[in-house]
């Protein structure tokens, strides 16, 4: 197990993390669930590759184009589906994701189902790390503002949000567009890491996996999403030796998480220096007062 191998796993985890961060905003903070974000990754992936290969743009601006393309498409999707209630938005995103994959399967310009080879290998551990740090800062700053609070309010209680004057549709839209942009950038990084793109990389299973990571990390926790992406990307890689049984256990693990610890690893709490201090203080005071559970549990 060389350095290369470990950096490789972290790079993959970082690419996943980028989408997961966006989904964390959408799902963890706004309360909307998507089964189509692999579709946004695909759009971003193909758009980015188009920029670097056909227009010879540098990598980072091309990634921006990828993110923008996904964002634009998400705005259209959001416009028509965000008014749908509960389950139905989920289903619409599922339909969207599958439609994107099938369209790419059938459009021969980008190689159809056989895929699109020869994409330059621009993605590496360091640019993935840099982009993720920026993405986390943006997300954290957004969440700790009136805009972020409005999204959280929408997650908690839609009707009450309306009544205090929050434009629910607008905030769902902002959340969706940002999450799609993140996914688009992640797709761009993915294509330039694997050096090829293939529609089947962006299947429903991929979308599900992403949402599962967000839930596994804990809804409403950025640090949870980071942990979730690291654990759930590296674990299957490490388990690769067990090849076909890997996904069997994965499926079981998903059910197990849902029925046993649905609040995820972090349960909505953040791992920050101040929260660590608070946790420590709670544990100390718990010792002295012997009251009920500390830190993580409310």
């Amino acid at each position: 197990m060389g350095n290369e191998y470990i950096l490789g796993i972290f790079t993959l985890a970082g690419i996943n993390l980028m989408t997961v961060l966006g989904l964390s905003l959408l799902t963890g903070f706004t309360g909307l669930f998507s089964f189509g974000h692999a579709g946004f990754m695909a759009i971003g992936g193909y758009a980015t590759a188009l920029m670097t290969l056909n227009f010879h743009w540098p990598f980072i601006p091309s990634l921006m184009v990828g993110g923008l393309a996904a964002a634009l498409v998400s705005a259209v999707l959001g416009k028509v589906t965000l008014k749908l209630k509960g389950d139905y938005f989920c289903i619409a995103t599922l339909g969207f994701g599958e439609a994107v994959r099938l369209i790419l399967d059938n459009v021969q310009t980008f190689g159809g189902a056989r895929g699109w080879p020869g994409i330059p290998h621009y993605t590496n551990f360091w640019n993935v790390l840099g982009i993720n740090i920026v993405a986390i800062i943006i997300l954290a700053n957004l969440i700790h503002s009136r805009h972020g609070r409005n999204m959280i309010a929408v997650r908690e209680e839609e009707l009450a949000s309306q009544i205090v004057g929050i434009n629910v549709f607008k905030y769902k839209m902002i959340s969706l567009v940002i999450s799609a942009a993140y996914a688009g950038i992640a797709g761009g990084m993915m294509g330039h890491y694997m050096t090829f793109l293939q529609p089947k990389m962006f299947s429903l299973v991929k979308s599900t996996e992403l949402t599962i990571i967000v839930i596994f990390g804990g809804l409403g926790s950025i640090s949870g999403s980071v942990l979730g992406a690291l654990v759930l990307t590296s674990l299957p890689e490490i388990l690769r030796a067990f090849s076909s049984w890997r996904l069997v256990f994965y499926g079981l693990a998903v059910i197990f998480i849902m029925i046993s610890r649905p609040e995820g690893l972090m349960g909505g709490y953040e791992l920050t220096p101040s929260s660590m201090k608070r946790l420590y203080r709670n544990i100390v005071s718990k010792r002295s007062k012997a009251v009920h559970s500390a830190g993580g549990d409310k």
């Binding site: 700790h144 972020g148 609070r149 309306q162 009544i163 004057g165 909505g268």
Partner: protein, 253 residues
């Protein structure tokens, strides 16, 4: 001319007429009451005023403007807000966060301002936190400000809902059974609080309540509703002496 006028307001659900041709005026700066037996259509009227339900027919005029069938958040923006009969707080947020969220109206920094933490963001955010703190103090929730809303005692949850509504600086406040589940003592306190906030915030208030003491004690004008239709309207004494009201409602109590 009142601050709020209902003209021939009607709402049907399938075959059921929940509200039928109701006309009503709420005078500016008054406290008005809306009473009637269970299922009379009181909450439905609130839902129509605040845009939660679509009006079947009729018109709602607020502050001289037609607000019929506008989106709820736009109605809130124009100065009407409410509390809910079945409390709807942001359950998993703290008391402070509940109020702070609702204060959003008094800031206008953009997403870019917040992402880049520009001066505009810092300045306005400071103002918001001060405002939230002040409201919490006025409503006597200071000692519980970091509690999760869902863990508050019932009476305080109702109080918090009022605090959250006030954060919008509304002109008209609709209270749906604010004293439900409270003991006489708490009800008494609530009455005082309502009169107080009305003066302090220059509010017009419309209350739905089953506690007759409360309604008769603080309302200047009362509308009685039965089976979706207006049965009577007037001062507390008028209403109490109205024959049809006694028959349909007070008699039963």
């Amino acid at each position: 001319m009142g601050i709020l006028e209902l003209h021939g307001l009607t709402k049907t659900f399938g075959g059921l007429t929940a509200v039928g041709d109701v006309n009503f005026n709420v005078e500016k700066d008054s406290i008005s009451g809306l009473i009637g037996p269970n299922g009379a259509g009181k909450t439905t009227i609130f839902n129509l005023i605040t845009g939660v339900y679509k009006v079947t027919s009729g018109k709602i005029i607020f502050d001289g403007k037609d607000i019929t069938n506008k989106e709820p958040y736009l109605i809130a923006e124009s100065g009407i807000t409410r509390t809910f009969q079945n409390i709807r707080l942001f359950k998993k947020l703290t008391v402070y966060e509940n109020v702070l969220t609702a204060c959003h109206y008094n800031a206008n920094y953009s997403i870019f301002d917040s992402v880049l933490r520009l001066p505009k963001f810092r300045k306005q955010e400071k103002k918001l936190t001060e405002q939230a703190a002040e409201l919490i103090e006025i409503m006597g929730l200071e000692s519980r400000k970091d509690l999760i809303a869902n863990n508050l005692p019932y009476g305080l949850q109702r109080r918090l809902e009022i605090a959250r509504a006030l954060a919008l600086m509304p002109k008209l406040l609709l209270l749906d059974e604010p004293a439900a589940g409270m003991n006489p003592d708490e009800t008494e306190q609530l009455m005082k609080l309502i009169s107080e906030i009305r003066k302090r915030f220059n509010l017009t208030i419309l209350i739905i309540e089953h506690h007759m003491d409360l309604i008769m004690g603080i309302c200047e004008n009362i509308m009685v509703l039965n089976f979706g239709c207006k049965l009577a309207e007037g001062t507390p004494t008028d209403v109490q002496n109205d024959k049809s009201v006694i028959e349909a409602y007070l008699g039963v109590e």
